[in-house]
């Protein structure tokens, strides 16, 4: 079985963007490019959910999963959101395949519970073995400052979770706003997330929140990689996964 690849952006933020293009628009475009955008909104205890509508909207447009949580729940949420999004994407792919096989507009509900079970086995299997690229974008604007230690921990934890799979993982980590630019690189594609603390300590947390430009940077970064990367990339433009060979 040749392995496909899933591409995700994981955006961790606590509020409204206020610079550059509309992040929801950029997310919509990323989705067209086969990259799923997941968003996690982080609250401190006592904070209200205002400004969290954007969180939902970006994920909706980006074909991903969103969740608003308190910092204490961050670790488990980050890994669940990532997994849910994987499963969701794979379901989409499998469903597409099914339509091909059944030759008609078959939806999952039309399948008997038995058949659904078989589909799920395929999705489980794929979710375990598929290659995954996660581009992590962390909002480091002033209000995020107290939340960053938990973010750091959650990301290390995500790496533990995903590296317990059989499939391969690559992570990249960028922060926004950067010192001079909108976005700043912390970690280029690598199979593990470790020793982030130094990166997070170096930070100067700023006032602006250029979420849209940050997402655009994610796209560029993915594109650079896809060009020099695998030969089969772009073969299936409308799938967020390269053709899985099952």
């Amino acid at each position: 079985m040749t392995r496909g690849k899933l591409r995700q952006v994981l955006l961790i933020t606590d509020g409204c963007s206020n610079r550059g293009e509309d992040p929801a628009a950029v997310a919509s475009f990323l989705k067209e490019k086969g990259i799923v955008v997941n968003v996690i909104g982080v609250l401190d205890h006592g904070e209200r959910e205002h400004g969290m509508r954007e969180v939902k909207e970006i994920a909706l447009c980006g074909g991903g999963v969103s969740q608003v949580v308190y910092t204490s729940q961050l670790s488990q949420t980050v890994q669940m959101v990532t997994r849910q999004a994987m499963t969701q994407t794979l379901h989409g792919v499998v469903q597409q395949e099914l339509r091909g096989i059944l030759g008609e507009e078959k939806e999952m509900e039309d399948l008997s519970p038995e058949k659904r079970g078989e589909v799920m086995e395929v999705v489980d299997e794929l979710g375990e073995t598929v290659g995954l690229e996660v581009f992590i974008l962390v909002d480091t604007s002033a209000s995020m400052k107290t939340k960053l230690p938990m973010v750091e921990e959650a990301l290390t934890d995500l790496s533990v979770s995903l590296n317990s799979r059989q499939g391969e993982n690559e992570f990249a980590l960028f922060l926004f706003p950067g010192k001079r630019k909108d976005v700043e690189k912390v970690l280029d594609w690598s199979p593990k997330i470790e020793q982030l603390s130094t990166a997070f300590q170096r930070l100067t947390t700023g006032g602006v929140t250029p979420t849209g430009p940050a997402l655009k940077e994610a796209l560029h970064h993915f594109e650079k990689r896809m060009k020099k990367g695998s030969l089969i990339a772009d073969a299936e433009d409308d799938f967020p996964i390269e053709k899985p060979g099952f």
Binding site: Q67, Q76, T77, G117, E121, P149, E153, N163, S164
Partner: protein, 328 residues
């Protein structure tokens, strides 16, 4: 606990008692008696069926229960009946144009593990863990890891008292990554391993449950990069009812056991030692340890009376244990 954030309220999370419906595919009739609880993937109800009282779990969306059903089906087909609730029906429920999946299973009547041991006494804990380890061993032999092992997923039915596992949402094939977990029982959270499904993953959770029976409030790990293992072991040594099991717990926390049977044997050995090395009274006294005072930071010398009563009940329980051992 964290899981609830993932759940949206929907029509099927609050069906009122008396509601009746018929499955879409198999046409079996059901009547809701009461809600048993809300889970991460669905809502569980006690229902009346033609064959008597059963439990059903209704999912929020079309695929939400499929993994669980697959696992239950697998074990039902193996004839491993006591490992998880017996699966009786899998179907869809249609309400107001929406379709929700559900499955029907055996109704497990009893107390959750923690409320049981708090009511009946700490001396039950090792006995029930021995039963549990027997079940886990059979899970492992079949090539599966339970995954999301925690007291909320264990019911004590009976008499005769018997632990039963339900909620197989986290049950994962050996070698894959754990599907669902709860941080407190997760070795990844404590920095003591990864989340690959192996025997050690479940046994770690067993050790954490053991510790939790004495510390009623799930504590959190200390700030980052601390020696979590030392912290945990300190909790063990400062609780008199855990101290005899220190070695066992340590081995489970550090992944030293290659199978559940081994851990089970070692717990049994400690139970037996506790009941023979100490004195005489074979008369079983009334409850020695009351609900909460499970011996956290007890005075150096526990009272003689307590000790005596404990010994008595250990003797009694180890004979039960022997019988149980014969059955499982």
């Amino acid at each position: 606990m964290q899981k609830t954030t993932f759940q949206s309220k929907s029509r099927v999370s609050n069906l009122s008692p008396g509601t009746t419906f018929t499955g879409k595919w198999n046409r079996n009739p059901y009547q809701i008696i009461k809600k048993l609880g809300n889970g991460a993937n669905g809502t569980v109800y006690l229902v009346a069926t033609r064959l008597g009282e059963r439990a059903i779990k209704i999912g929020e969306n079309k695929m939400s229960l499929t993994s669980e059903v697959n696992v239950l089906k697998h074990f039902s087909s193996l004839g491993q009946h006591t490992l998880c609730p017996v699966l009786l029906d899998v179907d869809d429920l249609e309400i107001a144009g929406e379709t929700y999946p559900f499955f029907c299973m055996e109704y497990l009547h009893g107390d959750s593990l923690l409320s049981f041991t708090r009511k009946k006494g700490q001396e039950w804990v090792p006995i029930l863990l021995v039963q549990l380890l027997g079940d886990l061993d059979r899970f492992h032999q079949a090539g599966w890891v339970f995954g999301d092992l925690k007291p909320d997923n264990i019911i004590v039915t009976g008499p005769p008292m018997r632990v039963r596992l339900f909620d197989v949402g986290g049950t994962t094939k050996m070698g894959r990554s754990i599907k669902e977990y709860t941080e407190f029982y997760d070795r990844g959270y404590w920095g003591l391993g990864d989340r690959k499904a192996d025997v050690g993953y479940d046994l770690f959770a067993v050790a954490m449950m053991f510790i939790e029976t004495v510390y009623p409030h799930r504590f959190q790990k200390a700030s980052q990069k601390k020696q979590h293992l030392d912290d945990l072991m300190e909790k063990v040594t400062s609780a008199s009812s855990l101290r005899p099991y220190k070695k066992v717990i340590y081995r489970a926390l550090t992944g030293k056991y290659s199978d559940a049977q081994w851990m089970k044997k070692e717990i049994m050995t400690v139970i037996e030692k506790g009941s023979t090395s100490q004195a005489v009274s074979s008369k079983r006294r009334s409850r020695p340890v009351s609900g909460r005072s499970n011996g956290i930071k007890e005075k150096k010398k526990p009272s003689y009376r307590t000790e005596l009563a404990l010994t008595g009940s250990f003797l009694f329980l180890s004979s039960i244990l022997y019988l149980v051992g014969q059955i499982i």
